[in-house]
């Protein structure tokens, strides 16, 4: 099963945010989406999951446009709904609504939800809201999962645990994982493919191995080095 993007164009007020984007995402692989702020990463993610309409091109999963929306979920940076429900009540609500019986005990522990699931959403911190968002993204049990900066706000050990969870989800459940992250050091084994976006276009993409071979003598190690070679900038936005 593949997610295929072909010539996607998205414009805001006549300005192209996504400019003829084409890509193929295969089942059971993890894709890293890199780019500066405003490069079009979030817009692309929203187009894939159907939150935004695009002006031109096609997005298909299993040769159908409709099934993309039905099979995709995005973890938004925050969860601001149901302010007067406790976090565990929100989770229970989504369990009932989606009628899914997914064993996510491990993720519950990694995100430490048990320590704050009694908190009302309106009193939850940014990190706690994000944890809810990540949890719900997996609770909905979709084939395509897009995560937006999932590692931020977690301590080092939890980051590693989350990485192993994601690898497991990808391999055993056969999901397509697309991760937008500025934090890649220490998680490089998770990513199979890297796409670098600039001004609404992919300026570089390929399997991690291909890119490592292509950009051999980089100043920085691994994916950070590749990104630096391609854009002249350090991941996180500083000028190189």
């Amino acid at each position: 099963m593949e997610l295929i993007l072909k010539d996607i164009v998205k414009k805001y007020d006549g300005k192209a945010i996504l400019n003829n984007i084409s890509a193929t995402f295969k089942q059971g692989y993890c894709y890293l989406l890199l780019g500066e702020n405003g490069a079009g990463k979030s817009t692309l993610a929203k187009c894939i999951v159907g939150d935004e309409d695009y002006d031109n091109g096609t997005i298909q999963f299993n040769n159908s446009s409709q099934s993309v929306v039905d099979n995709a979920v995005i973890q938004y940076q925050s969860f601001d709904s149901y302010q007067h429900l406790k976090i565990r009540e929100v989770i229970r609500l989504f369990e009932k609504l989606s009628n899914q019986n997914v064993d996510l005990e491990e993720l519950y522990e990694i995100l430490e939800l048990q320590t704050f699931d009694h908190v009302l959403l309106k009193n939850a911190s940014g990190g706690q809201r994000k944890a809810v968002s990540i949890f719900l993204a997996f609770l909905l049990n979709k084939r395509i999962v897009i995560l937006d900066e999932p590692f931020a706000d977690l301590d080092l050990m939890k980051k590693k645990q989350l990485m192993h969870f994601l690898q497991n989800e990808m391999n055993k459940q056969g999901k397509i994982l697309i991760i937008i992250s500025h934090e890649v050091a220490g998680f490089e084994t998770l990513f199979d493919y890297v796409y670098i976006l600039k001004d609404g276009k992919f300026i570089e993409n390929g399997s991690k191995q291909e890119l490592v071979t292509k950009y051999k003598n980089t100043v920085l190690a691994g994916i950070e080095g590749i990104y630096f070679e391609v854009t002249g900038k350090v991941l996180g936005g500083r000028a190189g």
Binding site: F79, S81, Y82, Q83, L85, L93, F94, K96, S98
Partner: protein, 251 residues
């Protein structure tokens, strides 16, 4: 699934103490005023009863319906739109119509609980037969049926809960006082308010107000036969639901 949606709406509404108090306070303020009048003006009992039946009780019910079904639901829906709740909900596979019905059950339940409580309170002040009691609850529910989709339309128009809140005040005044004021002033001027009801037929509150006058023994008959009120209100509800479906985007 519908039960879960209703439960969520009721739980959130009741936990939001500011909103809950704001919803019930206006209606019960008129009851408290009625009680004070009843206790202090003992020598003019007939006038007090007339005042309670003609003004205070109808305004209490109108305010209760407005607060819960209209203001509260509109703000709730506008906030849901603003914080993109439906982006999550649509991925659960729940149809928008299921959410519409589930939330509607929550709204109806809350309104009915407080409506019954309000009428029980008033029954200590004025003679209110059990049949009148039930008929008032019945017509109130039909008005609620007509008003409920309107909250989706308004929530579709307004950007978020705060904008909705500020815009609902003039809308509420328009809906309420277009009924109560003409009735009061025309009665004082010794004219029959029902002669002018045709001009107010766009307002669902008219049918409630007119039915209340009958069931509280303030009028001998309603402007139109009551069964027509139920038909009109049902048609209102269906038409508005169709518009709501177009105006309130889940995205």
């Amino acid at each position: 699934m519908i039960t879960q949606i209703s439960r969520t709406f009721m739980l959130e509404s009741m936990r939001n103490t500011g909103v809950t108090l704001g919803n019930i306070l206006p209606a019960f303020t008129f009851f408290i005023c009625s009680m004070i009048f009843k206790l202090t003006m003992t020598e003019n009992e007939e006038v007090v009863n007339f005042l309670i039946k003609g003004q205070f009780l109808p305004i209490s019910i109108l305010l209760l319906l407005f607060s819960f079904a209209f203001s509260s639901a509109t703000i709730y829906l506008a906030d849901m739109k603003a914080n993109k709740t439906f982006n999550w909900v649509k991925r659960t596979g729940v149809a928008p119509s299921t959410y519409y019905v589930g939330m509607g059950i929550g709204v109806f339940t809350l309104v009915n609980v407080f409506l019954v409580l309000l009428l029980v309170c008033y029954s200590f002040l004025i003679a209110l037969s059990f049949v009148s009691f039930l008929k008032i609850v019945f017509i109130s529910n039909f008005v609620l049926l007509a008003l409920y989709p309107l909250s989706f339309i308004l929530a579709g128009v307004f950007k978020n809960g705060k904008v909705a809140q500020s815009m609902l005040v003039p809308i509420m005044i328009l809906f309420m006082f277009s009924i109560t004021m003409p009735s009061m002033f025309l009665t004082i001027a010794d004219k029959n308010p029902q002669d002018y009801y045709i001009f107010l037929s766009w307002n669902p509150m008219l049918y409630l107000h007119d039915s209340l006058q009958l069931h509280l023994n303030m009028a001998n008959e309603t402007w139109l036969p009551e069964y027509r009120y139920f038909i009109i209100l049902t048609v209102f509800s269906i038409l508005l639901a169709v518009i709501a479906r177009k105006v309130y985007s889940l995205r």
